[in-house]
């Protein structure tokens, strides 16, 4: 190795170290931004160093492509609404997977033309790269579509779905063996690519829209693995290192996310559980049980004269974009000398940290936000809990009812507070599609309506007090 290659090699190692540190820092709140920056620097170093590689002779196309990519990437990142971030991440991720697949495809194309026989390990790694990358590409696009509302968020199922998927898998394996063992044919390779793209669609459509964050996280792990396989193909270690890092970290993160929902990953992928936001299920699940409803004036009285209020935001707040109104309400209450806290359930909303992001966007000070474990012991001393569009995360059935599908999921113990006021549009179920006994609890007051309007009404009424 001459001096240039040595410098390039050392720079790659340095980039690897920065990637590792970046990923580690990303996992802790105090250092997360620095972690992201470190990872970005690592990427920059890796790119620059690669451009110095003697193998690279033409720069025109590279420059054009990088500029196009940068423009698209930075604009979409800047313009995307906070609430649309999960699908944005999904689409980015799909593109990464797609890039790996394209690299493998191009490399296979070139070598298969040059020689009639390809080394076994080359065939296997190109196949892996194109398969995982292709699947990630279309899978992520479907996930994007579901979150963006372009594709129905409900699980899309049809008869014999699993059989079809299994057949597709078998076809991929058979073709793979053919390609690696017998005929390194371009056409066969293209067919594998198409099958991978199809599988990506097929595997994601039966999953409910609300489970997409988990799916995206899993696909993120996949795109790492695809990059890793591409690293074997082009024989570059930094791809292997960064790809394996992300592959493993993504897998762990997916696990953590599933655990927070108290559901195994298999259930997310094959459970067809999340019926999405449309969940109108169990029509008027109430039946003969009675609920107490309040109007705006009453609700304002109860809140305005409380000493301590805990706000529990949920998916409904996000759906109604009520976060700014909620911040106004909390400031108003504080001005009246009322102690206001926000109780954040780890899986409230539809993506991890959903509530934190929204409330931060609305400038609610972070100091008012409390994790489930910190706030739960306090509920018995709280005058009023104001639930805004949350449902599953406060369902006491998770604690009491062993037959409930969400039994065992940790919840916010709002039923232990003195009064509970719930803003939602109806008695309809939430994400998990199950009834909530808390609605019929004598201490519960239902304040029916869409979150944003109702909170604004509250603000107006409290000002009148």
């Amino acid at each position: 190795m001459d001096a240039l290659s040595t410098a390039i090699g050392l720079a790659y190692i340095f980039a690897a170290v920065l990637f590792i540190l970046g990923l580690r820092y990303l996992g802790s709140p105090a250092t997360a931004r620095r972690g992201n920056l470190l990872a970005a620097i690592a990427m920059l170093i890796a790119i620059i160093v690669t451009l110095l590689d003697r193998q690279i002779v033409g720069f025109t196309w590279i420059l054009i492509a990088i500029i196009i990519g940068t423009v698209i990437g930075s604009f979409s990142a800047r313009l995307v609404k906070m609430t649309a971030m999960p699908q944005m991440v999904g689409i980015f991720n799909g593109l990464g997977g797609g890039a790996s697949a394209l690299v493998a495809l191009a490399e296979f194309w070139r070598l298969s033309i040059l020689s009639a026989e390809l080394p076994l390990d080359f065939s296997i790694t190109t196949l892996l790269s194109v398969f995982i990358g292709g699947l990630t590409f279309t899978g992520s696009m479907i996930a994007f579509g579901k979150l963006q509302g372009l594709v129905s968020g409900s699980p899309i199922t049809f008869p014999l779905q699993k059989v079809v998927n299994a057949l597709l898998m078998v076809a991929v394996v058979v073709l793979g063996v053919l390609i690696a063992g017998f005929d390194p044919s371009n056409i066969l390779f293209l067919i594998v690519t198409l099958l991978a793209l199809t599988l990506g669609v097929m595997l994601v459509i039966p999953i409910g829209g609300a489970d997409m964050p988990v799916v995206i996280s899993l696909l993120n792990s996949f795109s790492g693995l695809a990059a890793c396989a591409a690293g074997f193909v082009v024989q570059n270690h930094i791809l292997i290192i960064a790809g394996a890092l992300v592959g493993a970290a993504g897998l762990i993160l997916t696990q953590i996310m599933c655990k927070a929902m108290n559901r195994p990953l298999s259930n997310v992928l094959f459970g067809a559980f999340g019926t999405g936001d449309q969940a109108a299920g169990a029509v008027d699940a109430g039946g003969d049980k009675s609920v107490k409803a309040v109007d705006g004036e009453e609700a304002a009285m109860i809140l305005g004269y409380a000493q301590s209020v805990v706000v529990v935001p949920g998916f409904g707040m996000a759906a109604a974009q009520a976060q700014h109104a909620v911040r106004e309400l909390s400031e108003l209450l504080q001005k009246r000398g009322i102690e206001v806290k926000f109780a954040i359930h780890p899986v409230a909303g539809r993506m991890p940290g959903h509530m934190n992001v929204l409330l931060a966007e609305a400038n609610v000070p972070y100091t008012l936000l409390f994790d489930m474990d910190d706030i739960n012991p306090e509920f018995p001393h709280i005058d009023v809990v104001l639930v805004i569009g949350a449902n599953d995360v406060i369902n006491p059935a998770a604690r009491n009812d062993t037959t409930s599908p969400i039994y065992g999921m940790p919840i916010l113990d709002v039923d232990k507070a003195r009064h509970v006021m719930i803003i939602k549009r109806s008695l309809n179920v939430g994400f998990a599609g199950i009834d909530n006994p808390l609605f019929y609890d004598p201490k519960t007051l239902m304040y029916f309506g869409s979150a944003k309007e109702k909170v604004q009404e509250l603000v107006a009424e409290i000002k009148k007090l």
Partner: protein
């Protein structure tokens, strides 16, 4: 098995362990940013895309390469920016960093 593959495998295994160990107890607030940051890192495929595009091969390869670079660049640039935007929000107001 070629020597190169064996070395690649060793590096893969070690890196995967680092990846596993590095992510331990991430507070739920950070799940989305972490996912997003990791996603940007997976755009490392850009290196592969650069290598295949830069060597001026067949037109078909070149086209694939250019598309691959565009894809990966969007992933990288967009990924890091969007992650930073998310994380920025946690730092707002009182300037204090959120507790874990």
């Amino acid at each position: 098995m070629p020597q190169e593959l064996m070395i690649g495998l060793t590096i893969f295994v070690l890196s995967a362990f680092v990846g596993f160990e590095v992510i331990t107890k991430v507070p739920p607030t950070l799940h989305t940013p972490l996912m997003s940051g990791a996603n940007a890192i997976s755009g490392i495929a850009i290196i592969g895309a650069l290598l295949i595009t830069g060597r001026n091969g067949e037109p078909f390869e070149l086209i694939l390469g250019v598309i691959a670079i565009v894809f990966a660049t969007v992933n990288v640039v967009g990924g890091f920016l969007v992650t930073d935007r998310m994380l920025q929000m946690f730092k707002k107001k009182d300037g204090k960093s959120p507790k874990a």
